[in-house]
Amino acid sequence: APVVAAPPRPARAPAPAPRAAGDKPLAAPAVRKRAWDLGIELQYVAGSGPAGRITHADLDAHVTGHRQGRAAAA
């Protein structure tokens, strides 16, 4: 008899498309708090974690990116 494969686990979704305005981005409480402290709108930060979760590293990258962007513009 053919072997019936069990249902696959639902795969983790890939990082979603840019968020719609008002969407609460996915980030752990500490990341959210740091974003507030840094004055960063998480809305505009790309998330690299599962399901597009924003990590501390993503925040770091966002901050550095901005600095570099500003430096380049200057």
């Binding site: 019936v4 686990r9 639902p10 979704a13 752990a28 409480p29 708090k33 597009g52």
Partner: protein
């Protein structure tokens, strides 16, 4: 007028919101005054709410457990209940906790001013002490935490046999027949205590189910387990008349939907009115401070808990639902930090709710009904406690643990636990939601066996289709 006390931060009300705000403010270095009407700190929660109710529920829980132990080989005779001693125990618990708060206030040099506060201006409040003496406190910043009061039904007369939750917690008597008006958490917690102490209970509720807001399947489990406590559960029913007769309190009912038959009038020994709480926003002279208050008495605030007046914040029951102590405490920290100039923001995704009944019912995030109403597609992980070795060993396998996942992102967005200790375990589900965890994250976290807590891991595994403590997953 003359100012008696000057401070940087004035907190009005010393409930969970107020004392937490005052303590956090002091810890941040602000010179803090805490204004409270009563002699003890802790507000509703410690004095006539969360804490005394749980002291009585604990005793009820042990009594209920022993009633089933004969099947397990250990037979208890009915215990002797000394209601005065039980009340004294409850009072001792309150005293321990409020005493602890007083000590912590002192250690922080928080200046507690006892009396009823009424704003005089955006920077002044007048406090009328228990002896009628008035003091004026001048403040640079303020946090309003004046809480809420019980909602009264206009047609209910004054009578010692008619009580609100505060009266019920006084345990003045154990009635034979008791009516609980309002099938919410507070009413059902009190029903649990009184029925364990020997009362037969009726509940009347306007809506079509008990414990509104909770998962319907969980309430069903709860209701089945608790069926023996109740003579009548009258749903979709309005209480329309309450009359104090010598032989008891006569209560008349009407169907909530026109044209439906109403239950007959009944006579009770005790009636508990537990139909909700309303915010105290209108009782503090907010207008003198320029603080907006809604018609219903709520004070609108932004994400930093700031009112329309920039240096005045508000927190707790009087800023909105859910009226829960843990919400007040977290808001308190945000308000104190924001007042101190930090960028604090209240952005918790979820606030858990718990009914501390037996079994407990605990939930957090979205329920199935809410997800449906919002059009969010969900998938479930369901673990019945009949498959939990620990629940079976405890003789308490009626419960379940249910996790809800977003069908698209697979992240957890809600969870319900019904069963013993449910409230102690729902924090993990809250953490999972805040962290953005998915089924794999939770299922691959090793939970200890045999615990009730592992049911959370198992429910996540069930969702992933990999649980081996359940029958084989249906093919998707």
């Amino acid at each position: 007028g003359p100012v008696d006390v000057e401070c940087e931060m004035m907190v009005l009300g010393a409930g969970p919101g107020g004392y937490s705000a005052a303590f956090r403010s002091a810890d941040l270095g602000m010179n803090t005054v805490l204004v409270e009407k009563y002699a003890t700190l802790g507000g509703v929660c410690l004095n006539v709410g969360c804490i005394p109710s749980k002291a009585l529920l604990h005793v009820a829980h042990i009594m209920d457990e022993t009633a089933h132990m004969a099947d397990l080989g250990v037979s208890f005779a009915k215990p002797d209940v000394d209601i005065d001693k039980l009340r004294a125990y409850k009072d001792k618990v309150i005293k321990t906790m409020t005493g602890g708060l007083a000590g912590m206030a002192k250690a922080r040099k928080v200046n507690v001013v006892q009396g009823v506060g009424k704003f005089l201006s955006p920077n002044h409040i007048e406090v009328t002490g228990p002896d009628g003496a008035k003091k004026v406190v001048a403040f640079q910043k303020a946090i309003i935490a004046a809480g809420s009061a019980v909602v009264k039904l206009p047609f209910v007369p004054e009578d010692p046999r008619i009580v609100d939750s505060t009266g019920a917690l006084e345990l003045r008597q154990v009635p034979k027949r008791m009516l609980v008006i309002g099938g919410g958490i507070i009413g059902l917690e009190m029903a649990t205590v009184y029925s364990t102490l020997g009362a037969r209970i009726d509940v009347v509720e306007m809506m079509d189910g008990l414990m509104q807001g909770a998962d319907r399947e969980a309430v069903k489990v709860w209701q089945k387990f608790n069926a023996s406590r109740f003579d009548n559960i009258m749903l979709k029913t309005k209480t329309v008349g309450v009359e104090a007769l010598p032989e008891g309190i006569k209560v008349t009912f009407e169907a909530a939907e026109a044209g439906q038959p109403a239950p007959e009038a009944q006579v009770y020994d005790l009636v508990l009115v537990a139909v909700g709480r309303s915010p105290n926003g209108k009782k503090i002279g907010a207008e003198a401070a320029g603080v907006s208050v809604t018609d219903r008495g709520f004070i609108p605030v932004d994400g930093q808990m700031r009112t329309n007046v920039p240096h005045i914040f508000a927190i707790g029951d009087l800023v909105g639902q859910p009226m829960l102590a843990h919400k007040a405490v977290h808001e308190a920290h945000v308000a104190a930090e924001a007042a101190h100039g930090e960028k604090a923001f209240f952005d918790a995704k979820v606030i858990p709710s718990v009914a501390y009944t037996d079994p407990e019912v605990a939930w957090v995030g979205l329920t199935e009904d809410e997800a449906k109403a919002k059009g969010i597609k969900i998938e479930k992980g369901h673990f019945p406690w009949a498959a939990s070795g620990r629940a079976v060993a405890n003789g308490r396998s009626e419960g379940f643990t249910k996790l809800l996942f977003d069908a698209e992102t697979h992240r957890i967005i809600g969870g319900t636990i019904v069963g013993t200790s449910a409230g102690d375990m729902i924090g993990e589900v809250a953490l999972a939601i805040e962290m953005g965890a998915d089924g794999v994250d939770i299922g691959k976290t090793i939970h200890p066996h045999p615990t009730l807590g592992e049911s959370i891991g198992m429910a996540a595994e069930a969702y992933e289709g990999v649980c081996t403590d359940l029958p084989p997953p249906r093919k998707r």
